[in-house]
């Protein structure tokens, strides 16, 4: 399709917002999205999760995973989508879907629970997905030296480490700008 329509958004892009439970993913998406975040559900099937233990689910066809997402219309013909990763890490089958074609990921981190970042970091590094770590500045959270955090996370030097306030639109937007700049630097 070209630009023949009157409302012809013809290109779209996607950024993944990842992080541990309760770290502020939905808040972050909601802060910059032009719509109230929506929820899409995926049904886990045999084909999509061949090794998942479904014995606890009464009916495997109704085992679902939910993802929040938001939208930003950047121009009349370009839309950016922000997808929050599912809260439960056993739903890895959705992560492939999320990262395919993505610009990159903002990995939200809480300095009190840095270990929640390790699995997403491994996943993004394995898939070659550009990402940055955004420390969500929770009220009352102790501030640490960046070098100590990099050390604790074993964060590669080239991966940006920033601080944000996921409640603030300007701050969330700045994370997205930094991520796209980082992705550009990694794109030939």
């Amino acid at each position: 399709m070209d630009s023949s329509g009157s409302e012809s958004a013809s290109a779209s892009a996607k950024i993944v917002v990842a992080g541990g439970f309760g770290v502020g993913k939905t808040t972050f998406v909601g802060a910059v999205s032009e719509i109230d975040p929506l929820v899409t559900e995926a049904v886990m099937t045999d084909a999509s999760a061949p090794h998942d233990d479904l014995s606890l689910a009464g009916d495997k066809a109704t085992t679902t995973v939910a993802m929040d997402f938001g939208r930003i219309s950047l121009t009349s013909d370009l839309v950016l989508y922000l997808f929050g990763t599912p809260g439960q890490e056993r739903f890895w089958f959705m992560w492939d879907d999320l990262v395919r074609g993505a610009i990159g990921a903002v990995l939200l981190a809480d300095t009190r629970r840095l270990d929640a970042c390790f699995a997403p970091m491994d996943f993004f590094e394995d898939r070659g997905l550009p990402y940055l770590v955004a420390l969500n500045a929770f009220d009352g959270a102790r501030r640490f030296d960046d070098a100590d955090i990099r050390d604790a996370m074993e964060l590669p030097d080239a991966t940006p480490l920033l601080t944000c306030d996921a409640r603030r639109r300007g701050s969330a937007k700045a994370m997205l700008v930094s991520l796209v700049e980082h992705a550009l630097a990694l794109t030939p």
Binding site: E41, Y81, R100, K173, V180, L184, T187
Partner: protein, 113 residues
Amino acid sequence: MSAPGSRPARVRPYAITGGRTRTRVALALETLVHTDGAAELRTLSGERRTICELCLRPISVAEVSARAALPLGVVRVLLDDMAGAGLVVLHGATADRPDRALLERVLDGLQRL
């Protein structure tokens, strides 16, 4: 979000697609779908009609799923069928990674927000 076990009884999701779970073309979450006009709407019913109505303006696969309250996989199969039948047009089919031109457009757009 309610727990899976507590949701009201409904049709098993893939009954709508005749049991199919695969699509011929890769439909990314952010792939945009559009329909040119309302001409076909009268001939459609059920989920296909709902989807066509949503696609009167360009809308992503994920948004169709959310707004039609249908699971993502079901929406993908239906959209694949509907695109094959000429009911909807898919655009912005995504490569593995965005190229520099797209990244620069996104960066420019974000900086203007």
